[in-house]
């Protein structure tokens, strides 16, 4: 009967999204961090690139720093690599304070955005370069290079120069070179930015497999939210030199902590509303654009009458002609305003609310059948419905 009980527990514990099995060191407060930024600030003249930032990253974690350009993510990584010095604050790696240690003595290695391959050396020599700096025995260097070539499937290109390789191959050389020294942490600066979309998606999985195999801590900097969501165990969303939210990809998507995060990751409807009733079971909001209320199981620390935003992803909004779904907690009448047909889905923009205070609500409509008898089209009157747990209340 034991296994049945076990099942019961799993079923009872509702969690948000997929998580790598039994790997959640960030949830136990006693777990020692592998990398720690402690109140780190970096200023370039008047410009503050990183502002009093503290962050803990754990061993074997695949961690992503995500943000737009100029948000400080690259500066943060370069401080860890030693190319920039923090104006104030400390950085620890494996318990060691990194202050004053030059880049060439740090136990981290970096894969550069431009790959930065040495153009005058063959693939082999590029990979062996770091090992030679450590004065390893030639036989060991040979073994290590062979291992890296195998890992990145580059065996047949060992003698080639970088300019004789394609973009994807160069990317793998850069990866092999930075992994050859078995760094305590691998830093990846926009590693897939130069690849085309298809190759990028393939390489993302390859990266994850390599990380699984080597069990090295990976820190990736990217501006591509899909990439961060695909590869990372946890994501730190950055803006203007500060951390906005640090959480698993699913938490960031399903439970963003601010309008910035909700808007930055994926597509979202943000409905301005006021709190009209609150209890432990949930909250009732009145839309500012009048005409509809929102019932949610979320609790909020906002008081009655406070202005909040209700964030709901378009795919959580169902759309139908006529009466819609009478069972749903929320039902809103709308008028189809615009349709973006994307093939797999259509994004339907509907006008909701009253008079000149109306707003647009987007709903995803999955095109599951090729032929539809009565398709939703422009100017249709529709009903938009969603459940009590479909969205989140945001205060800022």
């Amino acid at each position: 009967m034991g296994f049945l009980l076990g099942w019961g527990c799993v079923l009872a514990k509702k969690s948000i999204g997929p998580v790598r099995r039994e790997f959640t060191p960030w949830e136990s407060p006693d777990h020692p961090p592998f990398i720690e930024f402690r109140n780190v600030t970096k200023k370039f003249g008047d410009f503050t690139a990183v502002n009093n930032l503290s962050l803990k990253i754990y061993e074997r974690e695949f961690f992503a720093l995500l943000g737009g350009s100029g948000c400080g993510k690259t500066t943060l990584m370069r401080m860890l690599a030693g190319f920039e010095t923090p104006t104030t604050g400390q950085i620890f790696l494996d318990g060691q304070d990194l202050a004053g240690i030059p880049p060439f003595r740090r136990p981290s290695n970096m894969m550069f955005q431009s790959y930065a391959l040495f153009p005058h050396m063959s693939v082999e020599k590029n990979i062996a370069f770091g090992l030679k700096q450590d004065r390893l025995a030639p036989s060991e260097i040979g073994d290590r290079v062979a291992e890296m070539l195998r890992l990145t499937k580059l065996e047949q290109f060992a003698k080639r120069r970088p300019h004789q390789l394609s973009g994807g191959q160069r990317q793998r050389v850069a990866l092999a070179r930075s992994l050859a020294k078995r760094p305590k942490v691998l830093l990846l600066d926009e590693p897939l930015g130069a690849l085309d979309r298809k190759l990028r998606e393939e390489t993302q999985f390859e990266l994850m497999n390599i990380q699984e195999e080597l069990k090295t801590t990976f820190l990736i900097v990217t501006h591509d939210q899909e990439e961060a969501m695909t590869v990372a165990d946890r994501i730190a969303v950055m803006d203007k030199g500060e951390l906005v939210q640090v959480a698993t990809p699913a938490e960031i998507y399903e439970a963003p902590n601010s309008r910035f995060v909700a808007d930055f990751i994926g597509d979202v409807n943000l409905i301005e509303a006021t709190v009209v009733r609150k209890s432990e079971a949930g909250t009732r909001l009145d839309s500012v654009c009048e005409g509809f209320a929102i019932e949610t199981n979320q609790t909020t620390d906002a008081g009655i009458g406070d202005r909040v935003w209700y964030a709901i992803r378009p795919e959580k909004v169902r759309i139908a002609h006529g009466r819609g779904e009478p069972d749903a907690a929320n039902q809103i009448d709308g008028l189809v305003w615009d349709i973006a047909y994307l093939g797999d889905v259509s994004i339907i923009h509907s006008k909701v609310g009253k008079g000149d205070r109306d707003t647009i609500l987007r709903a995803t409509f999955a095109n599951v059948s090729r032929m539809v008898e009565n398709p939703i089209t422009w100017d249709d009157e529709v009903v938009l419905s969603f459940d009590r747990d479909a969205g989140v209340i945001l205060r800022g």
């Binding site: 370039f44 410009f47 690139a49 350009s69 100029g70 400080g72 690259t74 500066t75 920039e84 010095t85």
Partner: protein
């Protein structure tokens, strides 16, 4: 994120700066200060042929006494003898005319290069650069044999019957113009070609598409956009041409006045070091204006590209 970081400098970093810096201070800047100082001294029959010589052995006292011996006399002399200001004026005029002629000849060449097929351009570019590598002196010398009274040009012109009497070209200003144009042509063609080559061909197509005939498109589009190249090229010809010595000396006549030649004569023939130093100082002051203008223009281009 892309702002330049204040560079941390190690001892090696400082040494890297110090070595070329000190070299230039000693062998470039200090000599100018000495030239300036000597331009305030008097000529004397001595070695070196001027007083005062600052002898550090005399100590501070002697140094201060010597200071009193400096005077602006040489500069006054430059204004009194009209040879000097006529030389300055004539240098600027000759350089100006030559620059204009170089532009007239250089523009069609640069334009032709920019319009030639892509595969041919590196070769053409090398053909323009090649004369720059061969000796300046030899290139000027080559013209003597051509421009002489009994030279090849006159032989040719008389043989085909255009003229009966040989033209006197060598030892005139015309020969100097030819020499300067010939020697400095690559300096003008290169920056001009660079700016013409960058010109986006679709701009001309757009102009024609909007109803502008090709010749007009040249005036309205190509020429204005190549202006930075024209200006850079003209400066690169004009500035060195003003102080030119070899060309007026070998190709010019006794009445060709150019300041480089005057300075040379003053120094080597008259052995008047203080006056030639004063000539050099004034020449430098005259050139500072175009040099600064040129620097500013280059900086603007660099900023635009950044």
């Amino acid at each position: 994120m892309d702002k330049p970081a204040p560079v941390k400098r190690t001892l090696g970093g400082w040494a890297l700066i110090a070595v070329p810096y000190v070299w230039l201070l000693i062998f470039f800047l200090a000599p100018f200060l000495i030239v300036f100082k000597i331009s305030l001294s008097q000529v004397a029959v001595a070695i070196p042929p001027y007083v005062p010589t600052f002898d550090l052995a005399g100590g501070w006292q002697a140094f201060v006494e010597n200071l009193g011996d400096l005077s602006l006399e040489n500069y006054l002399w430059l204004t009194e003898d009209d040879l000097y200001w006529k030389s300055y004026l004539s240098s600027v005029v000759i350089a100006g005319i030559s620059t204009f002629l170089t532009l007239l000849i250089g523009y069609p060449i640069a334009y032709g290069m920019a319009r030639s097929p892509q595969s041919l351009r590196p070769t053409l570019l090398m053909l323009v650069i090649l004369p720059f590598w061969t000796s300046f002196l030899i290139r000027v010398y080559a013209w003597i044999g051509i421009l002489k009274n009994e030279g090849l040009l006159n032989q040719l012109l008389m043989a085909i019957g255009i003229i009966d009497e040989p033209l006197v070209i060598l030892n005139t200003n015309t020969a100097v113009y030819i020499g300067i144009v010939y020697s400095y042509l690559p300096f003008l063609v290169l920056p001009l070609y660079a700016s013409l080559e960058r010109l986006d061909g679709s701009l001309l197509e757009a102009a024609e598409d909007l109803g502008c005939p090709p010749w007009k498109a040249f005036w309205k589009i190509t020429l204005p956009l190549s202006l930075p190249g024209v200006i850079a090229g003209c400066f690169l010809v004009f500035i060195p041409a003003v102080g030119e010595f070899v060309i007026p000396d070998l190709l010019g006549g006794s009445d060709t006045l150019m300041i480089g030649k005057t300075l040379w004569t003053e120094f080597f023939n008259n052995r008047d070091w203080p006056v030639s130093s004063a000539v050099a100082v004034i020449l430098l002051i005259i050139l500072v204006i175009p040099i600064v203008l040129f620097q500013n223009q280059q900086q603007k281009i660099a900023e635009k590209q950044a």
